[in-house]
Amino acid sequence: MNIIVTVKQVPDTHEVKIDPKTGALIREGVPSIINPEDKNAIEEALRLKKSSDDGEVTVLSMGPLQAESTLREALSMGVDRAILVSDRAFAGADTLATSYTLSMAIKKIERYDLILCGSQTIDGETGQVGPQLAEWLDLPQATHAEEINIQGNLVTVKSNFDSVTRVMEMKTPALITVSNRINKPRYKHMNKVLRAYRDKAVVTWSKEDLKLNPIRIGLNGSPTWVRKTFVHSHSRDGIVVEKPAANCAEDILDFILEKALLKL
């Protein structure tokens, strides 16, 4: 079974602060990490590979050249191959241009039975790239997987949505986005870290390596732009009621009923 896992390098949002004036992320000094759910996708790919007879796991990322460290981390977890799609022409891509570019890289990889993605990233949080990728490649898809079983070319995917559990069956090749509840990503083995740096390469593909339609990539291929980011303010105008406690309660109840916050 050959599996492609798409990954993204993201800022560790536990460490991120937002500039209150500009609304922009303060990236300086913030470590970059593999998007957490992409790590679940890598873990699941390695698990599925182990239970099938042969095949390999390839990680694929689009991003600036420094995203190579993210791919080295994936190699340290034990994946076989790493490909970074990187070109200045891809800058400013929204989810549509990103998924298009990734789909063209996947077409170049050719041999695959399964594509696994994290359900969403912790920076953009759109959850769109996986499903869009399936559309570009005309593949069946299942999202937010919490369990994947494969028998022959039949894939069964279980997902939970609040109180609803959905079980889907698809034929390979297929695309699945995974939830962080699907598994616990493995710790990196020291010798695999060594091998990731000594024995393996991160292959870089630029725009020339892919058969791309220029109007579909980068800023040109992006119908959405971020107009503004801002820090949501939680401040509210308070109402101060200065009366004895018993009368206060009555006023508060009136207020709640008036605003229809509660029905009696």
Partner: protein, 384 residues
């Protein structure tokens, strides 16, 4: 020679890998194991599962094939979370695995290293005796050759990892004769647990490293075959000195890890703790303590990494190893002490990790060469 302070990204990945494991698996149980004075087979084997044992052993011997600095970084990261597991790891690697890898015969390497390097087994290193601590020359354990075997008599004490459920045995140094100059001849033996005449006693009621195993070893007409000799008869003293030089680097790493863990805890606490209307880190008395802690850790780490670089490049590093062990362990004491001070009364309770760091650091100025002995080593190296 060029000066370069940028480390390869590989080392950062080693650090990240060890840190994720330490925070994910060791941190949640470290306090409890310490309190119960309990050695964890499961944590030891998990450390083995991610390749923390045999880090510098070549891959063809079943090791991880990494360099010394990678190993030091890993020990540092485990010690940043828990001194006990770092002790199991550092002793396992530097004292249990390293001598076999360096001095063992091909068949000894094949017999012991694969399991040791996977954390399936552990090996102790018996050197200290009740009356031979800093004065290693006072060793009285003997081994007498009888035909194709040796008969060992004597006693070792304070041997890390020697009596766990997964311990395979211990490397034991004994007097095997006299040199022409009258000084004793030493030989190291690999003695497996369960060998008739070899008994063990786990030493309890320790004040630090309570989640690690420490044992006394008793030899009463314990007979081992000639195959148990590590390297060649008479090489024991040389082997011990080389092993201790390497071991000192790992104790240095434990000092830095302990200091780093205590410092980070203190820094975090100082930002949360409000007194006199503002966080205590904004008050100069505390801010200066934190600045000094950061400074000391930075200095110590630079010294230790330089010593590792010397070792890795096969240059003499005995003086630098002694300096690293001395300095890293002394700043561990100073930093852990101030970390408790910054925590105030709370730092005296087991609910806060600094209480454990404060106890665990105390061994570092004693084990594998006391601070006083290290000053002798350094002063001799500079011609005093």
């Amino acid at each position: 020679m060029k000066l370069c302070y940028q480390m390869d990204e590989k080392y950062e990945m080693i650090r990240m890998a060890a840190r994720e494991f330490a925070e994910g698996e060791i941190k949640p149980v470290a306090g409890e194991l310490d309190e119960k004075e309990e050695f964890s087979v499961s944590l030891t084997q998990q450390m083995g599962d991610i390749g923390l044992f045999g880090m510098t052993v070549p891959e063809e011997h079943g090791g991880q094939g990494l360099d010394y600095i990678s190993y030091i970084i890993a020990v540092e990261e485990i010690a940043r979370v828990d001194g006990s597991q770092a002790a199991t790891l550092a002793a396992g690697n530097s004292l249990g695995i390293d001598p076999i890898d360096k001095f063992g015969s091909e068949s000894q390497c094949r017999k012991y290293l694969p399991d040791l390097c996977q954390g399936k087994t552990l090996m102790g290193f018996g050197l200290t005796e009740p009356n031979a601590g800093s004065d290693a020359g006072a060793t009285s354990t003997t081994a007498v050759k009888e035909g194709d075997s040796w008969v060992i008599n004597g006693r070792k004490t304070m041997t890390t990892n020697a009596n766990t459920p997964i311990t395979k045995g211990s490397i034991v140094q004994a007097i095997t004769g006299a040199r022409p100059d009258g000084k004793p001849d030493y030989t190291c033996f690999i003695v497996e647990n369960g060998t008739p005449g070899f008994t063990l006693n786990t030493m309890k009621r320790k004040f630090m490293w309570r989640g690690s195993n420490t044992a006394e070893l008793f030899f009463n007409n314990c007979r081992v075959s000639n195959d148990a000799v590590l390297g060649n008869p008479g090489d024991g003293f040389k082997q011990m000195l080389a092993t201790l030089d390497g071991g000192r680097l790992s104790i240095g790493a434990m000092g830095i890890g302990c200091a780093q863990g205590a410092y980070e805890a203190a820094l975090r606490y100082s930002k949360e703790r409000i007194q006199f209307g503002r966080p205590i880190c904004k008050q100069q008395a505390i801010a200066f303590k934190l600045a000094d802690m950061e400074l000391k850790i930075e200095l110590a780490r630079n010294l230790l990494y330089k010593a590792c670089w010397l070792a890795e490049n096969k240059r003499p590093f005995g003086k630098e190893a002694a300096m690293s062990k001395l300095y890293c362990s002394e700043i561990a004491r100073e930093v852990a002490d101030e970390a408790v001070q910054i925590h105030g009364g709370y730092g005296l309770f087991k609910d806060y990790d600094v209480e454990r760091f404060y106890r665990d650091q105390r061994l570092l100025q004693i084990g594998e060469g006391t601070s006083e002995i290290l000053r002798i080593v350094i002063s001799r190296a500079i011609g005093c």
